[in-house]
């Protein structure tokens, strides 16, 4: 085995780990500032200039807090819950292509930890495991409100995964590959999927909101009804891991949306560049899209109210799934017609 490749991937994985955590940490800061901006407040401004050290202060605070386990909680499952949540949130970023190949020290390095040919299936698989973190955490805390949160989370995530999966199939049909790299390459330049599949984007985006438990689908935590839902009993860094996992999941979802619909690292006029310049610009383009997506997530959270649980299920099963199926069928027929498989 090529040792160089191993080292290269290891460095990339660690870098990715740090970047994901960093972005998640700064998402909290950005979210608070954005909320303040929307709500006409100042927001965090004590730690460092403009409060930019706030995430660090928050992290230190989390570690300093008493790590409390309720008497009747299942000790090991109680620890396992946030662990799974964080683990799965970080795992998903492994298959995301961050940019075009970069050449360093005479080596061509792909900016992707693992170019799986089933990349999108991998992501869906990992996201599905993510719900176990919330479910186990909520169940193990032995609190009725946490249990409600856990039940809500599991049924919500399973329901919305269907519509999300069907929307993803539509995109796979368009690009002809399950690997995320294939999907990105198929959208070269300005040939983005959003222009062909606006409905699919809408469905996928709504499902992504539900999958990451963001408003208006934040029913599992729902501070006004369930007092924090599945993480009611959590304190200290265990709570921190849950909250962090949510932000990492939001980052990964945003990255996934920009890959599937906004061309990933592609940007208009990219043919004029080559080599490392192109690689850096593509990474910049990718992150710009991802951050805009995160902004959209936050904007929605601070603007609209949340659903009731039956309405959420109604939307998932009776609206989004039919829409995505019809959209998939229509896409299939159009593709078949274009390819000449059916003739009139």
């Amino acid at each position: 085995m090529d040792t160089g490749l191993l080292i290269e991937k290891l460095i990339l994985a660690i870098l990715l780990f740090v970047v994901s955590l960093g972005i998640a940490a700064y998402s909290t800061y950005f979210e608070r500032k954005l909320a303040a901006w929307i709500q006409d407040r100042v927001g965090p401004d004590r730690a460092g200039p403009f409060g930019i050290l706030q995430p660090i202060a928050d992290g230190v605070k989390m570690f300093m807090k008493e790590d409390f386990t309720p008497t009747n909680a299942d000790r090991w499952l109680f620890i396992l819950g946030p662990g799974i949540a964080m683990f799965t949130a970080l795992m998903t970023s492994a298959v995301i292509p961050w940019g075009t190949d970069i050449t360093l020290f005479g080596r061509t390095i792909a900016l992707q930890v693992a170019d799986l040919n089933i990349g999108i299936l991998f992501i869906f698989g990992i996201i599905s495991i993510g719900v176990y973190g919330i479910m186990i955490g909520g169940w193990a805390s032995n609190n009725k409100y946490s249990r409600f949160g856990a039940i809500r989370a599991s049924s919500q995530m399973i329901s919305y995964e269907l519509a999300m999966g069907i929307s993803a199939i539509t995109i796979i049909m368009l690009s002809g590959g399950l690997g995320l790299n294939d999907i990105v390459k198929a959208q070269h330049g300005m040939n983005w999927n959003i222009f062909y599949q606006p409905v699919c984007f809408l469905v996928f985006f709504i499902c992504a909101l539900a999958e990451t438990n963001r408003a208006p689908f934040d029913l599992p935590e729902c501070e006004s009804e369930l007092i924090g839902g599945y993480h009611t009993e959590y304190s200290s860094m265990k709570l921190g891991l849950f909250l962090f996992a949510e932000y990492v999941a939001m980052f990964v979802s945003s990255a996934l949306i920009s890959i599937l619909f906004f061309g990933g690292y592609n940007f208009p006029g990219m043919d004029n560049f080559s080599g490392n310049t192109l690689a850096l610009l593509s990474v910049a383009a990718f992150f710009t899209k991802t951050f805009l997506m995160i902004f959209l997530f936050m904007w929605i959270r601070w603007t609209i109210p949340r659903f009731r649980f039956d309405q959420l299920m109604h939307l998932g099963w009776k609206v989004l799934i039919p829409i995505s199926i019809i959209n998939m069928l229509v896409t299939g027929i159009v593709i078949a017609f274009n390819e000449g498989w059916i003739k009139f």
Binding site: A35, K144, P305, F309
Partner: protein, 410 residues
């Protein structure tokens, strides 16, 4: 001993330990007293099947402070601070309502200017009360931003209170017979700018929720009550009007010259959370109209009635004049001339008819004082309104009824 203990165990405990809740599919959850959505200290023990509420049992009295008993030991002018602590979202209405009750008993003649000043203050308080209630409905549906916008406007109203009496939340505003001083020039400036900026800010906020699809889905058909049941319970105020009954104390039994003003009483249809929300929103607009009319036609005159029993004489007089010194002493010691009598006076409070039933035996303190607290009545209907609804509905039903712990428990 154990038998006696069993006897005193309240129905809530029985409910909690009943066989079906332990063995069956039905879960029992404590909604309160420290649940964040109760916005105060109430306990509801809910029996739920999944998320659906099958029945509930409510408990009151967590912050009972024996106001009615306290009032029996206090001279009339010292009861005002107690009324502050009833519905603390609109304390000026409580204060002024109490003053009007005593004025009714001593049959004081109140100058028109005082009436109009009171109307301005009471309508400001009503706006503040409704702003809080409706923004909290927003919070409980998950729209936190809709909580912050109205709070800026409420802050301006609190600044107006400060200009009048120096306090913000527990205002202790005015005196029996009028006010301790006239509106200050700063008050005039601030009120004018408030009247100018508020309608725009209000409609901006209103547009966030009133026609929001998610909000409407959440609130329509949630926690409904029929007009018959509402009347049977003794509902008043916005909650009764949302059910479709056009009863408003300001119109039915006008006090403080309310008959001089032109305003509409908004009425709902279904008596659900959405109707309660919309009735309050419309009442805010009407309150602005009333304030504009009252402020535009503010009569000249004295800011207080001729009731020397309740106003400290000038310091200069107290030091140089025997008569004034005696008055000063009597007022401070609470020795006023109060006639015998039994009266009831009610005002349209922030969330319903706030009544004062006062019996005086001619002594320095009331013989008996009963507050008619609208929240106490609404809360009794709460289990009936949420049965068959989900937990999420129970949360917004409670906040849309504007049950305030201070008033509920007195």
């Amino acid at each position: 001993m154990s038998k006696e203990k069993e006897k005193v165990s309240n129905s809530a405990a029985e409910f909690y330990n009943s066989k079906e809740t332990i063995d069956g599919d039905i879960a029992t959850i404590n909604f309160g007293p420290t649940h964040p959505a109760t916005h105060g200290i109430f306990q509801n023990i809910l029996k739920v099947d999944g998320e659906k509420i099958i029945s509930s049992e409510q408990t009151v009295g967590y912050i009972h402070r024996a106001f009615e008993k306290l009032a029996e030991r206090r001279p009339y002018n010292q009861i005002t601070p107690i009324t502050d602590r009833l519905n603390y979202c609109s304390s000026p209405i409580n204060n002024l309502g109490w003053h009007m009750t005593v004025e009714k008993l001593i049959q004081a003649e109140i100058p028109k200017r005082v009436d109009y000043m009171r109307v301005i203050i009471m309508e400001l308080a009503r706006i503040a009360d409704h702003l809080i209630c409706d923004s909290v409905v927003g919070v409980d549906t998950g729209a936190l931003t809709s909580f912050f916008y109205p709070f800026q406007e409420r802050e301006k109203i609190y600044e107006l209170y400060e200009e009048i009496c120096g306090a913000r939340l527990t205002t202790n505003i005015g005196r029996i017979g009028g006010f301790e001083r006239d509106f200050t020039p700063v008050f005039h400036t601030k009120l004018k700018s408030f009247l100018k900026t508020f309608p725009k800010a209000f409609s901006e906020w209103d547009s966030m929720l009133a026609r929001n699809r998610i909000f409407m889905d959440r609130t329509r058909g949630t926690g409904p009550i029929s007009p018959e049941r509402a009347l049977a319970y003794g509902f008043t105020g916005p909650n009764l009007r949302a059910a479709g009954v056009d009863y408003d104390v300001r119109v039915m039994h006008p006090y403080s010259s309310y008959e001089d003003f032109d305003f509409i009483i908004p009425v709902g249809v279904n008596g659900d959370t959405y109707d309660r929300f919309m009735v309050r929103q419309e009442e805010i607009r009407q309150s602005i109209r009333i304030i504009e009319q009252a402020y535009g036609n503010l009569p000249e005159g004295n800011y207080k009635a001729d009731v020397p029993d309740f106003y400290l004489p000038d310091k200069a007089d107290v030091y140089n004049n025997m008569e004034a010194l005696i008055y000063h002493f009597k007022i401070v010691m609470g020795e006023m001339e109060i006639p015998r009598g039994e009266i009831y006076h009610s005002v349209e409070g922030g969330n319903g008819e706030l009544g004062y039933y006062l019996i005086s035996d001619g002594g320095r303190t009331p013989y008996r004082l009963q507050f008619r607290r609208p929240c106490f009545i609404y809360y009794q209907a709460y289990p009936e309104m949420i049965t068959g609804q989900t937990i999420s509905d129970a949360v917004i039903t409670l906040s849309s009824m504007n049950v305030i712990a201070g008033e509920l428990d007195a």
